[in-house]
Amino acid sequence: MSRMKPASTFLARLPRTIEPYLYLTPAAAFIGLVFIYPIIWILQSSLWQNNPDGTKGFGFTNYRLIFEDPVFYQVVANNGKLLFAVPIMTLLALFLAIVLFERVRGWMIYRGIVFMPYILAVPVVGTTFVYLLGLNGILNTLLRGLGLNGLAHDWIGSADWVIPSIAAVIIYREMGFGVVLFLARLMSLDKEILEAAEIDGANWWQKHAYITLPQMSAVIEFFVIVELITMLSWVFAYVYTMTGGGPGFASTVMEFYIWKHAFAYRSPGIASALAVVLLGVTTVLIVLQLRLRSKSLEETL
């Protein structure tokens, strides 16, 4: 890089080795405070255990205790079940995006409507759906009206249905984001290839499976990652406003369980150990993800 006005600014005089770090510092400071310090803190705190005399002991007791706690496994399983919503949501969003893309009359209006739930606040959505999904709520009233009494479940009140119901509500709110994202990508595709395929007699399925989808892999991946993160790390507000973790522990998720131990049950050690486990799981996920896309990462950098 040439320096035609070398003395004009302070930054220009900085050695090249220092300058990048200068730009990084503010972000690093936030990251240090909001991520690194707390992570070190929980790693440490998870190793301190309460003694009967009020002192603290050092060891892996907290981890042993959470692995001995039968509820813990149920909670982990609940998070796992929620992950199944991601492929469903992605496929639905893809399908809708493709339908909209095919120049359906009024597609802009439909797009606006389908996206609308995404701007609603989670507690608003949660509160409203509790009424709609009640045993005598609109959904069941509708089903019974159609003579489908067998399908009218206690959506939020039964242990079997509560997770699928929460997943459905999450899909309701988040799907619009996917539709809009996918549609935007579709519209940026080269139309000639699609037209050529149509002339060659490719059917709807072939057209999209072999031409559209491959070109959308990056944006689909982006959406899937965002939603996987949501399911592991951002479902607290849904659970909190819809069920409070019940019935029993049937809808208690890790975030909720950590919050309970940290703030209602005064067990910082247990909450920290749970947090470390959750952190471990998300780290594994992200490492896998980085491996999978290591090639594209190299491209990125």
């Binding site: 600014t9 090249r16 972000a27 797009r111 009424y131 990056a218």
Partner: protein, 279 residues
Amino acid sequence: MSTRHRRENIIWVGMRQLILIVFSIVALYPIYYMFVTAFKTRDDWLHHQFGFPNPITFQNFTDALSRGNIPLWFQNSVVVTVASILITTIVSALAAYSIVRFRFTGRVLYFNSMIAFMVVPPAVLILPLFVFAVNVGLVNSLTGVIIIYSGLLIPFSVYLLVSFFRSLPTELFDAAAIDGCTNFDTLWRITLPLSTPAIVTLVVVNALFVWNELLIALVFLQSEELKTLMPGLTLFKGHFTLNEPLIMAGTLIATLPMILLYLFGQRLFVEGLTAGAVK
């Protein structure tokens, strides 16, 4: 085109409309329900949960406004959202620029750790952050949550901006350098203006995140006058369990500005959201 083909086409067109109408009803119904319920009396709601209010009452709105602090919570949410986004955007732009434009030791590590931090659940961080905030007196202060939100948003923002900056032609940067621009000028005068789509996306995604956040707000903002909308509404709901129309009026008051903003700025939301993400 053969007639058979055409007939199939017509059926498909009809089916598509049908599918879209069904999805639209599903998307709109909860909003409609909130709206209708808010105008019902308690008694009316108990006996006719569905259907139109009869009689129509505005009492719920006056009650919601007088018995809750919804306007104040709304204001707090706006302050927190705007401040967090300003900080995040500036700080992330600096970091992203550095990652894209420089070759320095620890660069890959820095970027990879950003991706890793993206998935760290806030629930993991909340206890230490709370203890820290207690020690420095940031519990029950909007500043405290603004700092936390900004920090939480940085990894994703850096990630998105890095991808976007990288897509800008390198010739531009080189030309700028030849013109004698410092790196900072290049970022400020060339990179950022060219990245408007990505920044709009970032602002929309991050704003929605901060606006909706419950866990941190619930723990950190305890006094009534400092609550943001989400914990405020949750409290409001817990307090009026037996007055569903009042709860719906409260949520409607809280939602209406967002809906209006959306109706008038749909392009900003929909296209802004995707402009920077789809590349």
